[in-house]
């Protein structure tokens, strides 16, 4: 390992390296460019066996590029990578796995129509003369799942699993071969707290076995909890490495965004609507067989209602029912009048908008332009009575939303897939704002969104509430629920178990409700 160019640290340690033990992975002066775009510049990183090394940075900071280099998806443009002291340049992901490098992707890379077991051992199935031995495959998978303590059935078809369960399959897949270095890319972004706990137990076990772990996450509380070392990246560059004990949240955020961050959640400027204000949405004894029971709640104009629950509690299904995507019984009232909602178009006609939890599958046409996506819901309002589009009205609306929500895009014709997660989420918001919704339902509005963009999305939500939109925000991030809501409703086991005013509410109290622990 060559001495650090700036010469600020003692010669024994290069930047990115904090402890004395021989690192399992050393990255020195690694760069990667795609044509004129420099995605990674002079990256430094050293991962020690038995320690969790967190990579922290906004989307676009270069974390994914680094991961893909380590996974063998593409080679670096320059620099050295050493694994256990030997030069490491994987040809492809299979080669990386053969070197004992496991990568757990956040982008779900599973085949939907195969079973859990088939996915875990994809491309290296137990076989005899090319014939797959199904029973052995399922036994191996069952053993692995037991060892890891995952609530999975090896024979279940992936298409039938929830997003959280699929992420657990991804984890099992990543750990299904002998490993010295595990890289986890936002593994908890789709997990509920209880499932995240399972993951943290697995991480502790891996640490005890002396495995080095690179951990990528946007959730500050869990980063502070499980990390040993933290390396901050910004704009493709190495910024700084700290140990967990040296670091504090505000400092990390400041390093990451390159400016001090005052508050994570924007403050409410006007008081929440009084209890006497008539609700704009009232749900009364809503039922869907097997999915949720007797769900009742109301939202007032200008109010942010937080809906919290562990994954599987039925939160998203309730929202889907209100939006006409699921058959249901019970009463839904909008502005005091009972309405019949049998399809999304009924919901939209009644002024209900729904930002779903899965923006890539349900929110966007990734191949289409920013403009087409923004205008996709309110199409009719950019057309004359005969259904002919007014291109100028389309451009004007898309341009205005891009400015208003500060969506970062090269131009209106850029394909949505080329934008970062945060900006994609803003496009989904923009398409719904075009119908001027009375009720805006947000399901996991900041999933996979970096800290800077998160704050901007929170600001938009606040602003909408101030303008009188009723907001229902479903989230599995407790701090987000507490930071944004005026009132919190908690679901557990397909029922609403608690409704609380946000003032004075603590994470512990909400968590007890959500976990079904009787308080009081």
């Amino acid at each position: 390992m060559s001495p650090q160019p700036e010469g600020l640290s003692p010669p024994a340690a290069s930047p990115g390296h904090v402890t004395g033990a021989a690192p399992v992975l050393e990255i020195h002066d690694v760069s990667k460019s795609f044509g004129p775009v420099q995605a990674l510049k002079r990256m430094e990183l050293a991962v020690t066996p038995g320690r969790v090394h967190t990579l922290l940075g906004e989307n676009g900071a270069g974390k994914s590029t680094l991961m893909k280099i380590l996974a063998g998806v593409f080679p670096p443009s320059g620099g050295t990578i050493r694994l256990n002291g030997k030069d490491y340049l994987p040809r492809d992901p299979k080669d990386a796995a053969a070197h004992g490098v496991s990568i757990i992707f956040q982008e779900l890379s599973l085949s939907r129509n195969l079973t859990v077991a088939e996915n875990i051992y994809a491309n290296r199935e137990v076989n005899r003369f090319g014939f797959i031995q199904d029973r052995k495959l399922n036994e191996d998978a069952a053993q692995l799942i037991r060892d890891l303590g995952l609530p999975l059935d090896p024979r279940a078809r992936v298409a039938d699993l929830s997003i959280a369960k699929r992420q657990l399959v991804e984890i099992a897949k990543g750990l299904s071969h002998p490993t010295r270095l595990v890289i986890m890319d936002e593994p908890t972004s789709s997990l509920s707290d209880s499932e995240a706990e399972i993951l943290f137990r697995i991480i502790a076990k891996l640490k005890a076995q002396g495995v080095g772990i690179i951990y990528i996450s946007h959730r500050m509380d869990e980063i502070m909890r499980i990390s040993d070392d933290i390396t901050v990246m910004r704009d493709g560059e190495y910024i700084r490495t700290l140990t967990r004990d040296e670091a504090d949240i505000n400092q990390l955020i400041a390093l990451m965004v390159g400016r001090p961050m005052q508050d994570i959640y924007p403050r409410r400027e006007t008081p929440a609507p009084a209890a006497s204000v008539a609700p704009v949405l009232a749900v009364n004894k809503l039922n869907a067989a097997g999915l949720f029971h007797d769900v009742s709640f109301t939202v007032r104009p200008g109010e942010v209602l937080g809906l919290f629950g562990l994954i599987g509690a039925g939160r998203s299904d309730v929202m889907k029912a209100i939006f006409g995507m699921l058959p249901h019984e019970g009463e839904i009232q909008v502005a005091g009048k009972p309405v019949r909602i049998a399809s999304p178009s009924d919901a939209i006609r009644n002024g209900i908008a729904f930002v779903t939890e899965n923006r890539k599958d349900e929110g966007l046409v990734l191949a289409h332009s920013v403009e087409r996506n923004i205008n996709s819901v309110a199409l009719g309002s950019f057309a004359n009575a005969l259904g002919f589009m007014h291109p100028r009205a389309e451009i004007a609306n898309a341009g205005e939303e891009v400015r208003r929500l500060s969506i970062k895009t090269a131009n209106l014709n850029t394909a949505a897939r080329n934008l970062s997660g945060g900006n994609q989420q803003k496009i989904v918001l923009a398409k719904w704002l075009a119908i001027k919704p009375k009720v805006l339902i947000l399901d996991e509005p900041t999933r996979g969104v970096d800290v800077g963009a998160k704050f901007e999305i929170y600001k938009i939500i606040r602003e909408l509430a101030t303008q009188g939109t009723a907001i229902v925000m479903v989230s599995s991030e407790l701090s987000e629920i507490l930071g944004m809501s005026d009132r919190v409703v908690v679901m557990h086991n397909k029922k609403i178990v608690a409704e609380r005013q946000a003032a004075g509410l603590t994470q512990e109290l909400v968590m007890r409700d959500a976990a079904g622990v009787d308080s009081e």
């Binding site: 990734l366 087409r372 996709s376 259904g387 131009n411």
Partner: protein, 315 residues
């Protein structure tokens, strides 16, 4: 902005226009008569039947679906026309009934696929056979002569020196181009083809859209059927056989994505022209038919490959 638009157009159609020019140069060198205005009109006229069906096919493929029953609908439409005339109906009612038969057949495709949740590939493989069987019902498999003069003149007459069929092609091109690229309906088709789930969440009634699009495909095929039976002066049980593949090839050559969500009428027209130029050029060089089939297949693969490559290298 202007600059961007033109570079976008070049990117979109550059490949196929270049391929068309290369083919035209080759054929003109080999046979100077190829480059005459008359021959161009001749190509347009030969292309019309496939191009009109391909316009309908463009919506279907754009939606991420496929319609293999197009050739059979062409034959049924001709037979419906012949039977109406045999029954003593006049030109206008016969045209109306023939077009309606296209709507009904397309509607069956769309309805079965949407409401019974069956892939359109399977549904239209089945109806391709069913409709082909239906053609033979009135005559027991024999051709039915048509002697309505107006109907026959459709493929013979000129207007301002341009064949009537080419006028019909032009009118239908403009109609479909406007419908697809300038209306709410067209936007919904792109959106649904691009991401069906997102379209459902955006409040689009995707089942209804699918049925309507298959109806359009049916009606376009019926128009093709009218023109084909006019050229043949009769309805034949095997007419239009294999036309579905030419229609698909035209749309795909023109850049319509089989995955859905991308494509255009201009592209499809260019794609149909390309197929027409290949057929016409090789006929003029007296290339035997079986060689024509081989060359056509190779050219289609090359053209689509070039097109895909030029687009992906931009990403």
């Amino acid at each position: 902005m202007k600059n961007f638009a033109s570079s976008h157009t070049v990117r979109q159609y550059g490949g196929i226009v270049a391929a068309l020019i290369v083919l035209c140069v080759i054929f003109s060198v080999a046979n100077p008569r190829f480059l005459q205005v008359n021959n161009f009109l001749n190509i347009m006229q030969q292309v019309t039947v496939v191009a009109i069906a391909a316009f309908g096919m463009t919506y279907v493929i754009l939606l991420g679906e496929i319609d293999l029953s197009v050739g059979s609908i062409i034959a049924v439409a001709g037979m419906v026309g012949a039977q109406c005339f045999a029954f003593g109906l006049g030109f206008v009612p016969t045209v109306v009934i023939t077009l309606l038969s296209g709507v009904v057949m397309g509607g069956i495709n769309g309805f079965v696929s949407a409401k019974m949740r069956l892939p359109s590939f399977i549904v239209t493989v089945a109806t391709m056979g069913i409709f082909r069987g239906v053609v033979s019902l009135p005559t027991g498999g024999l051709p039915a002569p048509i002697n309505n003069d107006t109907w026959l003149l459709l493929s013979i007459d000129d207007l301002f020196g341009v064949p009537l069929m080419v006028w019909i092609l032009a009118v239908l091109f403009v109609f479909n181009w406007v419908l697809l690229s300038k209306t709410v309906f067209g936007r919904r088709a792109y959106l649904t083809g691009g991401n069906r789930e997102a379209a459902i969440y955006s409040g689009i009634r995707v089942d209804r859209l699918k049925i309507v699009i298959f109806m359009i495909s049916g009606v376009m095929s019926a128009i093709s059927g009218i023109l084909l039976s006019s050229r043949l002066s009769s309805a034949q049980t095997n007419s239009g056989m294999g036309y579905e593949l030419d229609a698909i090839a035209a749309a795909v050559l023109g850049g319509t994505s089989l995955a859905g969500g991308a494509g255009s009428m201009i592209g499809t027209l260019l794609g149909a022209l390309m197929i027409g130029v290949i057929n016409n050029g090789m006929n003029m060089l007296s290339v035997p038919y079986f060689y024509q089939l081989i060359v056509k297949g190779v050219v289609i693969i090359l053209a689509v490959w070039l097109d895909v490559r030029s687009k992906s290298s931009r990403a």
